[in-house]
């Protein structure tokens, strides 16, 4: 599984799905036309069109009652073939598993991890082969015994047969899975020792966005690599200006309950040996409200704006207006457009940062006009920057400068940076470090005002947490999931049931693929095909992902053959020549074909959520469950259509 999954974004995913389905449909239509012409001559196109229209009709006019009849039939067939025996195997397994899994000397969290992993893996390893075999053998057996022939002489559409089969197997699998889930849950709860029961929860993490400051305090996308091949964690050097920065959104008292719980899991890389090895490392959190930095940040993206940025940092907004006027004058006199890349970068940062600063003010200062004015000026400038036309761009810059000048006083009061350094603490490696901060933070010094975490340090639900190490010469390794806000815990059942749901979604996907394959292949072949897709979608998916997204150097098939033949490994740059151009020209369509194959083979990795539950986390909807859900749905419709046409165009009685 991925250690850092990003939230599922529907629109880009849907766009990708449409593209792949569109390309596949176009290919299928082209091939069908060719076959139709070969088989029917001049009447071929008309025949192909008729079949396509009948296909649409067959889906539109499906009868729920007939689908349900076929669903019930499939369920009865499965049950009378004694599929429930698998449940007996499961129960027997659990009757004796406890003998071998109990180890009271082990740490409680590790005991829980073993038990949960065992249960979830046992469930998936039993249920998935079961549905694979059922779904792949059902229709071919029906065709072999010719019982399907009697069915198709009734007013049954082939689409109804495909869907009835899918739903039937899914319902049978769901029943077995639910029973296994209940037994597994009860077994875990009974097996976990009394002293570890309190740890049997589903922690709910809120993950943030991560960035770094290097040892000199300059922004950076990642920290130092201390020599690991696996660059999952980046390191910051202790007692320097290096920081790891997390930005959390959605931080408010109603959600967190008047306190902030931060949990971290940092790794240490020591350059000192000896007795220091046994000592924990000191770490410090710094809470920052960085409104001024956000205001300045877009103007730091371009050398032309450096002077304006420095005036902003100094709080001299009148000079900012003057400087922006000067820049606007310069832009007006330019004969060529500003390069697109720099315009794009400026517009993106401007939109993100200014929206995050001024939009919350429209809520908290609803009677004031300046937040809305800044939002309007920002929108104008973003649009003009993206378009790149000199006159509107100059005009928008002047308008923003004017806004800075006219609201200088209120900006000086509201747009400020606040930071609070919290007490250092020692990290415990390889297990969570939980820190709880009350809403009222202790004064930084005697006489200093007491700050409210949510009122004074959070702006628009956003909190910035900077982490620094306090041991000279020692390094702290961090990845995005290593620091998170811990929301109030949910019951263990929450995470466990989501893991069962993920198993169910994977089971549905396998059923859909199995039934589709069985529409045109015999049982054993359909099973081999489905199993191969599972292997490819699990083991090779990441590699294919890197191949098609050009992350593997020398990845083209022809180029690779050439490199093997000439003993040039992937890191050796090939000389620019006609031969290289020809190889790459041939590789391009091959990689395009691989792109299609990559998107056709389902990715089974998102369904692996055992790690979350076994490590005591709830399974997040946004980055895990939604991916599983939409992944399964994405295959359901195309596979049903493919299965339908395969069954529709198949002569059931062919000799």
């Amino acid at each position: 599984m991925s250690f850092d999954r990003l939230p599922f974004e529907f629109l880009p995913a849907f766009g990708q799905w449409l593209l792949v389905v569109g390309v596949l449909s176009a290919l299928a239509a082209g091939l069908s036309l060719v076959f139709a012409v070969v088989l029917h001559g001049a009447a071929g196109p008309a025949v192909a069109w008729r079949v396509a229209c009948e296909g649409v009709t067959d889906f539109v006019r499906m009868s729920p009652r007939r689908i349900w009849a076929l669903t019930v039939l499939t369920m009865k067939e499965s049950l009378r073939r004694r599929v429930l025996l698998i449940f007996i195997v499961f129960v027997v397994l659990f009757m004796f598993a406890g003998w071998f899994m109990g180890d009271s000397d082990m740490r409680p969290d590790l005991q829980i991890r073993n038990l949960v992993s065992f249960v979830l893996r046992a469930i998936s390893w039993l249920i998935l082969p079961l549905v694979l075999l059922l779904s792949c053998w059902g229709l071919p057996e029906d065709i072999r015994a010719r019982s399907l022939h009697t069915v198709v002489t009734k007013p049954v559409r082939r689409s109804e047969i495909v869907l009835g089969r899918i739903f039937g197997f899914v319902l049978v699998g769901s029943g077995v899975l639910l029973a296994m889930g209940v037994v597994g849950y009860v077994w875990i709860v009974r097996q976990v020792p009394e002293k570890a029961q309190s740890q049997l929860v589903s922690r709910v993490p809120v993950l943030g966005e991560m960035s770094f400051l290097d040892s000199n305090g300059n922004p950076s996308n990642k920290g130092i690599n201390v020599g690991d091949m696996w660059e999952y964690r980046s390191y910051i050097e202790g007692l320097t200006a290096a920081r790891a920065i997390w930005t959390f959104d959605g931080v408010d008292a109603a959600r967190l309950g008047d306190k902030l719980t931060l949990e971290s899991n940092f790794e240490a890389f020591r350059t000192h040996k000896g007795k220091d090895m046994d000592q924990s490392l000191l770490v410090q959190y710094i809470f920052v409200k960085d409104l001024k930095q956000r205001i300045v940040r877009p103007f730091k993206t371009s050398a032309d704006f450096q002077l304006a940025a420095s005036h902003m940092e100094a709080g001299d907004y009148a000079k900012v207006a003057t400087e922006l006027d000067v820049i606007a004058d310069g832009i007006g006199k330019l004969k060529v457009k500003v390069p697109k890349e720099s315009r794009q970068r400026f517009a993106d940062v401007l939109e993100r940062e200014y929206t995050s600063v001024f939009e919350p003010f429209t809520q908290t200062h609803s009677s004031a006009k300046w937040p809305a004015e800044f939002q309007a000026r920002t929108r104008e400038l973003v649009a003009a920057t993206r378009a790149g036309n000199q006159k509107p761009l100059a005009k928008a810059l002047r308008a923003l400068g004017k806004a800075f000048k006219s609201h200088a006083a209120v900006l000086k009061k509201e747009i400020v940076d606040v930071s609070v350094e919290m007490s250092p603490f020692e990290i415990a490696e390889f297990k969570g470090n939980k820190q709880v901060f009350k809403r009222k933070l202790p004064p930084a010094s005697i006489g200093a005002p007491q700050l409210d975490l949510f009122d004074d340090l959070v702006h628009g639900g956003r909190l910035r947490v900077e982490v620094r190490g306090l041991e000279r010469g020692q390094y702290l390794g961090m990845a995005r999931p290593d620091l998170f806000i811990r929301l109030p815990d949910r019951p263990f059942l929450s995470g466990f049931s989501k893991a069962i749901l993920a198993n169910w979604l994977m089971m549905v996907l396998i059923t859909v693929i199995g039934v589709t394959a069985s529409c045109f292949l015999k049982g054993p072949i359909a099973a081999v095909l489905t199993f191969s897709l599972i292997i490819m979608g699990t083991v090779f998916h990441d590699f294919m992902d890197r191949l098609v997204h050009d992350k593997v150097p020398g990845a083209g098939a022809v180029e690779s053959v050439f490199r093997i033949g000439t003993h040039k490994n992937q890191s050796v740059k090939l000389d620019d020549s006609i031969g290289k151009s020809i190889m790459q020209a041939i590789d391009k369509p091959l990689l395009a074909a691989l792109w299609l194959v990559f998107h056709v083979i389902p990715n089974f990795n998102p369904y692996e959520v055992t790690g979350w539950v076994a490590n005591g986390f709830d399974v997040p909807w946004s980055s895990a469950m939604m991916t599983c859900l939409f992944n399964t749905l994405a295959y359901f419709l195309p596979c049903s259509v493919l299965g339908y046409f395969m069954l529709r165009l198949r002569e059931l009685e062919s000799k």
Binding site: A69, R80, T150, E651, E653
Partner: protein
């Protein structure tokens, strides 16, 4: 019977091909025929003549290589035509793990029939095919005859206008065969159109109005059964109580008109008639047994003793 065509077949050909598209066998060659509403139409022919292929093409289980089929006014590939069709396959290809009630309920659902109607119709059909006592047994426990009967019941679940029967009497005992034939005639009397294919000629002769004989995929003969079987060159007289004098007199009359007397004999019943009569009489007179001639019994006993001694 009316002249309205329920099935129209025009120049229908079917070639079976192998995986590579090479021709394996031509099952049908330019078959054209019409089946009229309300008639019983028989498709005859030896094994491999194309009877079952024709039925499967009508049902859309096979696709024609060329030619056209219109069935109940719609193309054979149209699923909606099946609403008015009942089909009894050669073997009853049913789900063996279902019982009779479940089977009929399942096929009733496929016709979108409401639950109450399904239940009523299933009960009527189970009664009709005399499977009431076995209605809760799974079909895998049924004998061949019982399977044929439940197969017929499923073919009639939708009260079809057109019934296609593939070897309807295959696997049935003579009583079952008779009942099946009676049922076919009854269905015809209800206005339904029936197409049956069989190579049991007696069955076809008993029930069919018209027949078509196929050979090697080609239509050889088609017409009304009575017309096809009538020998125009011969005349048959059937009388009762005719003595030798009367017979001699008739021979004289025939000689006078130059007619050639082919044979004079007592008429015989067919084997089916004999079997049914025997069963009927057995039911009326239980305990009655056939006793062999004494001399024949003695001879058989003597032979057996000799064999035992040796």
């Amino acid at each position: 019977m009316s002249d309205e065509s329920v099935i129209q077949i025009r120049n229908l050909s079917k070639i079976y091909r192998d995986f590579w598209g090479r021709k394996k066998v031509q099952a049908l060659n330019s078959l054209s025929l019409d089946v009229h509403k309300g008639e019983i139409f028989g498709l005859l022919g030896p094994n491999g003549s194309g009877k079952t292929t024709t039925l499967k093409l009508l049902l859309g289980l096979l696709f024609p290589t060329s030619g056209e089929i219109t069935i109940l006014g719609q193309p054979a590939s149209n699923v909606e035509k099946n609403e008015r069709i009942g089909y009894l396959p050669e073997e009853s290809y049913l789900y063996r793990f279902l019982n009779a009630e479940e089977t009929l309920d399942f096929y009733g659902r496929l016709f979108d029939m409401p639950a109450a109607e399904r239940k009523k119709r299933a009960a009527e059909l189970i009664d009709m095919v005399e499977l009431k006592d076995a209605s809760r047994r799974q079909l895998k426990e049924y004998s061949k005859g019982m399977t044929r009967r439940i197969g017929l019941a499923q073919a009639l679940i939708n009260d079809p206008d057109l019934i296609l029967l593939d070897e309807p009497t295959s696997g049935l005992d003579p009583i079952g065969t008779r009942k099946m034939k009676d049922l076919i005639l009854k269905l015809r009397d209800q206005g339904k159109t029936i197409v049956m294919c069989s190579h049991l000629l007696a069955d076809v002769q008993d029930v069919c109005d018209r027949i078509a004989i196929l050979y090697a995929g080609e239509l050889k003969v088609m017409g009304r059964v009575d017309e096809l079987l009538t020998e125009q060159e011969e005349t048959q007289l059937l009388t009762s109580h005719l003595d030798d004098a009367a017979l001699a007199e008739i021979k004289e009359v025939l000689a006078k008109h130059d007619a050639n007397l082919v044979s004079v004999k007592h008429p015989t019943a067919d084997l089916e008639e004999l079997f049914l009569r025997t069963v009927r009489e057995s039911k009326e007179r239980p305990g009655h047994r056939h006793v062999s001639e004494p001399s024949a019994v003695a001879a058989t006993a003597s032979d057996s003793t000799k064999e035992a001694d040796s």
